[in-house]
Amino acid sequence: MEEIRIVNISKEFDGFMAVDGVDLTIKPGELFSFLGPSGCGKTTLLRMIAGFETPLNGNIYIGDQDIIELPPYKRPVNTIFQNYSLFPHMTVWDNVAFGLKVRKTPLPEIKERVSEMLDLVKMSDQHSKYPDQISGGQKQRVAIARALINKPEVLLLDEPLAALDLKLRQHMLIELMNIHDAVGITFIYVTHDQGEAMSISDRVAVMNRGKIVQEGPPDDIYERPSSIFSAYFIGETNLITGEVIGIEDEYVQLKCPMGDGEFFEIDSTFHFKPEIGSQITVSLRPEKIAISRHKPKVEDDINLVKGVIEDILYLGSHTQYIVTVGNHNIRVFSQHKRVYFDDAALDWEEEVWLFWHDTDSWLINELPDEDRMPAEGKAHFPKFKKHSSVLGDRI
């Protein structure tokens, strides 16, 4: 098995840099995801690996071989297309056998390998059906079998689950992971769905505007986002801007304006040393914040702010509170796994205390810029009306 090296690759469409100088190394056998909003260049990058787009410049190596000059049919990669692209005039069996047939494999071998592949994707009993006679999930399996039968070095998956409904998507995700374990080759997975990318990948590259914003294991990107974009795109987060007013050995102090001349303070551990007086951003995941109507006993390494509940959204597995602290709307997720501390559920307009550990405020050396937010992220800050009454109808 070979490593894939993408070296300074760019692609231009009518003056627009779809992919802009991407460098990337994908380890052999890895399940690697390109994650980003639509238009970020992830699919273009994938299509350049597959050979359907010619890059402006740069090279792609599989092992020591530069594949950039090779036509698609000579590259050791196979693709799962977004809508599967099964051949409608061929049976499942013929679809899967296609790659071997065009390579003039002897018929006994074709028969053996096709039945092996159909077993792997559990489609043996459907082999004589046509694509329009099987379900979306089954088409997906056939597409996987049709690609893997060619024993590619790399399997490229272009939003493979986008056309399936939620339950089936979750199911196919697990199947894909099992198939990846079974065949052991490198998978490159393109998706805009952070949940898919997080759950399936060994490593993720977060992309925006043709560039890789951050790459690493999913938990690393979630817990330690290097930019506002990755903090915002992966999971949900609160972004609070503040001025650095003190740096201790293990934490920095931030003074955060509340809009009305008042301030609150946040302590945070840090992974880079900001300058005193500089403006930086804190990313605070909603599930890391505790919420209570009684002021808790605070220890040194706990942040505490007071706010008013603006809105409550019941989401089944958890409730989302929107808490106003000055001009900030801070979102808090509270799971329903325990009885309430104080016997009664929180209510609209109640004064509450929010508290979280120092290590849970994560510093990002950037200031929020509306322009650079992912579109999906912007939608997360709706203007809430006061006294929105029914819980369910908004969700």
Binding site: Y73, F98, V102
Partner: protein, 287 residues
Amino acid sequence: MKSNTNSSKLDYLLAAPTLIWLTVFFLVPYFIVLIYGFLTPDIFDVKFEFNLDAYRQLFEGTYFRPFLLSVKLAITTTLLCILIAYPVAYLIARASDKLKNTLLILIIIPFWTNLIIRIFSWRIFLSYNGVLNDILLKIGLISQPLEIMRTDLAVIMVMVYVYLPYMILPLYSVLEKLDFTLLHAAMDLGATEVKSFFKITLPLSLEGIFAGVLLVFIPSLGTYLIPQLVGDQRSLYVGQVITYKIKNIPRNWPMASALSFGLLILVAIFLLIGYILLRKSKVRGVV
């Protein structure tokens, strides 16, 4: 289509005018033509006496040559139309939306002019002192004018010209619907461009080819006007023979009728063969 009794009654009611029209003005005349085939010829008209001479001559092969010529012409025209129309239809299907419309209009424009006028302009174009010979002489490709007019070649040229749009349009409608990512998929799986064409594009456009063949082959088989106006008068096609039997005195209506039905049966046989071939190829998915 599902329909309850009420709506199916309505369906019949809505279809009634067309059905009546076709029965009266299509089936009835056909029936009259059929009967004429079994009557006795007279100088101008027919005598109402039963007579099988016309069909006897038909099956004895007296008119074998015109039938053979017509079939040859129809096959040649159809094949040339497929070969020329396919790349054109493919190009239009893959063109940008704006260019696509322009090209389609260009193909439809000839329909705006009467067929006879267009054939006459071909006569001017192909004749001994015509435009084509002029050009070829001027650029020095030939030293004396070519005799193209009144040859079988001229017939084929004009036939292809007239029937080409009927092949392009159905092919275009199939190719336009073709999912071109299938070609990417084929190439991804190891097929070269040529192989993906023969394994994917061609099988998926068979229905368009079949529709085009119907539209070109059947009318070519009975063509009269084009060989009459530009053809070699020594090669008579079935359409011409039928006309002469009615036009030239002594008239022979029964023979004209028998020849027409011979043509009809021939078309039916070709249709059946085509239909069976199409079914056998198991074309699915498109259309």
